[in-house]
Symmetry: C2
DNA sequence: ATGACTGCAAAGACTTTGCATCTTT
DNA sequence: AAAGATGCAAAGTCTTTGCAGTCAT
C-alpha cells in the first residue's frame, strides 16, 4: 500500500514561500523567513520537505552556491545567472538552447540524457557598484 | 611583499594526478589515489592545495555531485555530462555554445558575465546496463 | 485511533583551520 | 635560519535522522 500524504501547515508554507519568490532560496533562507509566522519551525522539517518536493518533482535544485543548496519552484527549463560575489541567483528565462539538444547529445555520445543546466557566472550589478565604490574610497 | 610559493612534493603530485585523469576527481578520490605513493598525505593538504589551484586558475570546480565537489584540470570551456546514478562526470568537448554568448547575455540583462557552465544530466551506459540487468532478474 | 508530520538534538558528511613539526630555499 | 607546507585533530558548516510527542484524517 502506498503511504498517503497528509496536509501539513508547515509543508504548505514552505512550498508557498518557494513559489512566491524568485530568489532560489536555500533551506536556511526559507527557515529564517518562515520562522516569523511559524515560530516553532525546525530545520529538519524544512530539509525533509525540500527533499520530498524534489522527489515529487515540485521543485528543482539549482546547485550549490557558497556551500548551500539552492532551490527553484520553476521546473520548466530555463537558465540561471549566479553572482560569484554575493551568491544571488536569478532566472534568465529567455536563454534557451535548441529544443532537442538533450536528445542530440545523448545520441552523439551514447548517453541517456534527461536534462541540462545552463548557468552563467559573473558579478551582478549591485556587487559591481560596490566594486567601483570601493575603488573610489581607496583612491 | 608577495608571499612566494615553494615547491612541494605533495602539491606536485596532487596537480599531476588531477591532470592525468578525466574523472573530475573529488578531494576524497585524490586522497585515496595518492595515499599509496604518499602514505602520510592528509586530507587537509589535499583541500588546501585544491583551493590554491583554484585561486591560481589551474583548476576549475565542476560543481558538487553527491555532496562532494568535483574538480577539472581542463580550464578551457567545455561541457559536462553527469550520471545521476553513479556520479560519473565526463567531458563533452564538442558541445560548445556560441563564442560570445556570455557577452550577449551580459549585455541583454545588464550583468557582468565571466563564464557559463553547460551540464547535461542523465544515466551513463554502465548504469543503464545495470538497470536492464535488474529488470531481467526481477522478471 | 491510526499513522503521518514535526521539533529537538544527536549524528553524519564534507571542508576548513590552528598549531607544532617538517621542508624548501 | 627563515618562511612556506604539511599532519593531525579539532572545529565549522550544511544536511540527515532517530525518537517521542503532535496533528490530520
Amino acid at each position: 500500500m502506498e503511504r498517503t500524504q497528509r496536509y501539513s501547515r508547515k509543508r504548505d508554507a514552505i512550498l508557498t514561500a518557494l513559489r512566491a519568490t524568485d530568489r532560489h532560496p536555500s533551506a536556511e533562507w526559507l527557515y529564517q523567513n518562515l520562522k516569523e509566522e511559524h515560530p516553532d519551525l525546525s530545520m529538519g522539517t524544512v530539509y525533509r520537505n525540500l527533499n520530498r518536493f524534489r522527489q515529487q518533482g515540485l521543485i528543482q535544485s539549482v546547485g550549490v552556491v557558497g556551500g548551500q543548496e539552492r532551490f527553484d519552484a520553476v521546473t520548466s527549463p530555463h537558465s540561471h545567472f549566479v553572482c560569484d560575489r554575493c551568491g544571488e541567483v536569478r532566472d534568465l528565462p529567455d536563454i534557451r538552447l535548441e529544443e532537442d539538444l538533450d536528445r542530440t547529445v545523448g545520441r552523439q555520445y551514447g548517453l541517456t540524457v534527461c536534462r541540462h543546466e545552463l548557468t552563467f557566472h559573473g558579478v551582478c550589478p549591485i556587487c559591481m557598484q560596490k566594486n567601483s565604490a570601493e575603488e573610489e574610497t581607496s583612491t
